[in-house]
Amino acid sequence: MDFVDTPAEAAFRAEVRAWLGEHLTGEFAALGPGNGPSDETGWEVRVEWEKLLGADHWVGLTWAKEYGGRAANLAEQIIFNEEYTRANAPTRISFFGEGLFAPTLIQFGTDAQKQRFLPKIQRVEELWCQGFSEPNAGSDLANIQTRATLDGDEWVITGQKVWTTLAHRADWCFVVCRTDPDSKSHHGLTYLLCPMDQPGIEVRPLRQMTGSSEFNEVFFDGARTAKENALGPVGEGWKVAMATLGFERGTAFMSSQLAFEGEYAELLEIAQKNGAAEQPALRDELAQRYVGLQVMKYNGMRMLTNLVKRGDVGPEASIGKLFWTTWHRNFGETAMRVLGADALTVQRAQGREYEIDDLHYIFMASRAETIYAGASEIQRNIIGERVLGLPREPR
C-alpha cells in the first residue's frame, strides 16, 4: 500500500496545477463547477474554456497523440481530474463525448471511425449526446423499439429516445437501435452514430423538478446516417452499449468524490454558523456523511488500483455507482435539515424562472442520480448476479 505520488506523478501534478493556475482566471474561474455536466449556465464561456483545454491536449489526455491526446496513463488521468476538481474548474461539457463515447469508440471502432470522430471531440468541435433510454426502455433497456433499416448506403432511424442530456446542444448522438425487426431483447440491436442537425430529428426539452431542462425527448422520423456509422458489428449493439454504461458507472464519476468534498465543506461551514453542528442529531448526521465521504474515497482508490492492475473496473463499478448516488442523496437531505427554516426560501436569487440555491439543487438533482445510468435497483441486480453469482429471475 502506498498513497504517495511517484516523482513522475508529482511532476505531472505540478504541471496540471501550473496550467490551471495560469489559465483558469477571469470569466473562466467565475464559472465555477456549476451543477454537473448538464448545467447550462454560461454556456458560451464554457465552450470557450473547453476549447482552451482541448488546444493544450487536456481533453483526450489518455488517447494516442495521433488523435490529439497525450498518451497519458490512467494515474495521470486521475491526477488531472483531481487537480481539475480541486481548482473549482467548470464541469466539462464534453462529458458524453470524451467520457462515455470516446472510450467506447476506442474499444470498438475502426481506424477510420477513430480518425473521423476522436480529433473533433478532442478539439471540442463536436459535442455528443447519448440515445439509450426510451419511454418503454428504462430499467429494461433491452426493450429498445427505435428502429433502423438500411436504405442503400444509409441507415434510416425511426423512434423516440428520452432523458437525452444536452441533445439540443449536441452535434452527434450515439443511438442504440433495433436493426433486426424480428429480434427481441438485447439481440438484433446496433449502436449507430447519427448527426443531430437534420430534418429527421426533433428535440423537445423536458423540464425537470429543478426547473431546468437539460434533458430532452428526441424524435427520430426517418433520420439518416451513413452505413459506415455503425460502431461495432451490426446486431451486436448491446455489447457496445454495455461498455458505454460500464464507463458511465465506473471511471466517469471517479472525481465526483472530490467535488463532494467541496460540497461537504460548504455545508459544514453553514452548520457551524447556524448552530446545526451543535445539535446532537444533526451533528451525528454530519459525522455520518463525513464517514461515507471518506469511505467513498477509499473505495475509489481500491477500484482504481484494480483498474490499473486488471485493465477494467468490471461489475464492481456498480458498487461505486450505488455508493456515491446513495451518499449524495442522503447528503442532499442532510443539507435541507442543516439549513432548517432557511431551506424554505431562496437565499441567493439568480434570476431563474424557478429560483433555488445550490443546496436545493443538490437535494433535488440527486434524486435523478439514483435513476440514471441504471437505477439503484438495477445496480443491485448486477451486483447480485454478476458479482455474487446469484441466479437470475426467471423470464
Partner: protein
C-alpha cells in the same frame, strides 16, 4: 497510488487462513466457547512458535517479527472470519500496543519478547463498571508511597483478563481528572490482592473478566501521570484492529448468505433469484467491501503512524461496526428459521458483531470522536 496488498501479504493471508481453517473449525469454536479459559493452549503455542503471529507487529529488537499494522490487520481479519477463540486481541493488540506506546525501552525489552512468543498472555485493563471508553472512564487511582505504587478499585470488561499472566492497567494518579494523570502499570495475573472473576458474556467466543484490585503492588509502565497520549493511541490502534477483525466476520456471513440463497428453494426457485433477497445480498456486499476499504486504509494509517490515524480509526470503527452487525442480522433473515437456531453458526457471528460494535464505544460514540477530531 497503490491500494492493494503485496504478494507477500496475500501469502500471509493464505497461510493464516489455512492454519485457522484447520485449527479453528466451528466445532472447536463451540467447544472452546463452553470452557472458562476460552482458548486452546496448544493452538496458541503453535500460533506463537510456528507462525510467529503473536509477535507479528512487534519490532524485532523486542523479540517480534517486525511487520506492520497492515500484516496485523490481515491476521485479525482471518481470525474474525473463523471467530477464533484465543487471547490474541487482548495480548498481541491491546496489551502489546499499550506497552509499545507507554513503556520505556527497558520495559519493552523485558515484557514484549514473552508476548511475542506467546509464552506470556497479556491483557489490558482499562474500562470500569461505568462502561466508559475514554479518559473520563478511568477513575481507579494509583496510591504512591515512597516511589511505590498500589492499586485499589475495579476494572470491568477486561478481555481475557481471567487467563492473562500479565495485566497492563490504566489508572490515574491521585486527584487528577480527564486526560491528566492517566498512568499505565503492570501487574502479574496472580498478584496478591487481585481477584479475577470470569464474566458470562453475550458473545461466548470472546471471554471477559472483572478484576478487583485491593492494594495490589504495581510497576509503573512509562512515567506515571503522562500516559494519555499513549492510551489514546492504544485505543485508536485497537479500533483499527477491531475494524479489520470485524470485516473478516462480515465477509464470512456474506458468503454464508449467498451460498444459502443459491441453494434454498422456495416457490419453486432459489430464493437468491428473488430481488428481495438478491438486493439484501448486494447491499451486504457494498457495505462489506466499503468496510474493508476503511479498515485497510486505517491499517495503513496505523502502520505509518501518521496524523490521519485518529480520524480514520474513529470512522472505520463507526462504519465497520454497523456494516458487520447489519450483515450478521441480514444473514439470519436470509436463512429464515434455521438461522435462528443454536445449531446454526449465524448467531455466533451476530453476537460477536454486536459485542464488537459496543466494545471500545458504539458508532455514535465514534462519530462524536470523529466530529471533534475533524472540527464539526
Amino acid at each position: 497510488m497503490n491500494f492493494a496488498f503485496s504478494e507477500e501479504q496475500e501469502e500471509l493471508r493464505r497461510t493464516v487462513r489455512q492454519f485457522l481453517e484447520a485449527k479453528s473449525p466451528e466445532t472447536e469454536v463451540r467447544r472452546l466457547m463452553e470452557t472458562t479459559e476460552g482458548y486452546d493452549p496448544s493452538v496458541w503455542k503453535q500460533m506463537g512458535q510456528e507462525l510467529g503471529l503473536q509477535g507479528l507487529a512487534i519490532p524485532e529488537e523486542f523479540g517480534g517479527q517486525g511487520y506492520t499494522f497492515i500484516e496485523l490487520g490481515i491476521v485479525l481479519e482471518e481470525m474474525g472470519r473463523v471467530l477464533l477463540c484465543a487471547p490474541y486481541f487482548a495480548s498481541a493488540v491491546l496489551a502489546g500496543n499499550a506497552i509499545l506506546n507507554a513503556g520505556t525501552d527497558a520495559q519493552k525489552s523485558a515484557l514484549l519478547p514473552g508476548i511475542a512468543s506467546g509464552d506470556t498472555i497479556a491483557a489490558l485493563a482499562f474500562t470500569e463498571p461505568s462502561g466508559k471508553w475514554d479518559a473520563a472512564g478511568i477513575t481507579l487511582e494509583a496510591a504512591e508511597s515512597g516511589g511505590r505504587y498500589t492499586l485499589s478499585g475495579e476494572k470491568m470488561f477486561v478481555i481475557d483478563g481471567h487467563v492473562a499472566d500479565l495485566i497492563v492497567v490504566v489508572a490515574r494518579t491521585a486527584g487528577t481528572t480527564g486526560a491528566d494523570g492517566i498512568s499505565f502499570f503492570t501487574v502479574r495475573g496472580d498478584a496478591e490482592g487481585l481477584t479475577r472473576t470470569s464474566l458470562s458474556t453475550m458473545d461466548m467466543t470472546r471471554k471477559q473478566a472483572k478484576l478487583e484490585f485491593n492494594n495490589v503492588a504495581a510497576e509503573p509502565l512509562g512515567t506515571p501521570g503522562s500516559g494519555w497520549p499513549a492510551f489514546s493511541k492504544t485505543l485508536d490502534q485497537a479500533a483499527v484492529a477491531l475494524s479489520n477483525e470485524m470485516m473478516g466476520g462480515a465477509q464470512k456471513v456474506l458468503e454464508m448468505s449467498v451460498e444459502y440463497a443459491k441453494v434454498r428453494v422456495q416457490f419453486g426457485r432459489p430464493i437468491g433469484s428473488f430481488q428481495a433477497i438478491k438486493h439484501k445480498c448486494a447491499d451486504m456486499l457494498l457495505e462489506v467491501e466499503s468496510g474493508k476499504s476503511a479498515a485497510y486504509y486505517a491499517s495503513w494509517a496505523a502502520a505509518e503512524d501518521n496524523d490521519e490515524l485518529p480520524v480514520v480509526a474513529a470512522l472505520s470503527k463507526a462504519y465497520c461496526s454497523e456494516a458487520y452487525f447489519h450483515a450478521t442480522a441480514e444473514n439470519i433473515q436470509i436463512h429464515g428459521g434455521i438461522g435462528f437456531t443454536w445449531e446454526h453458526p449465524a448467531h455466533l457471528y451476530f453476537k460477536r458483531a454486536k459485542s464488537s460494535e459496543i466494545y471500545l464505544g458504539d458508532p455514535t460514540y465514534h462519530r462524536e470522536l470523529l466530529a471533534q477530531r475533524i472540527g464539526i
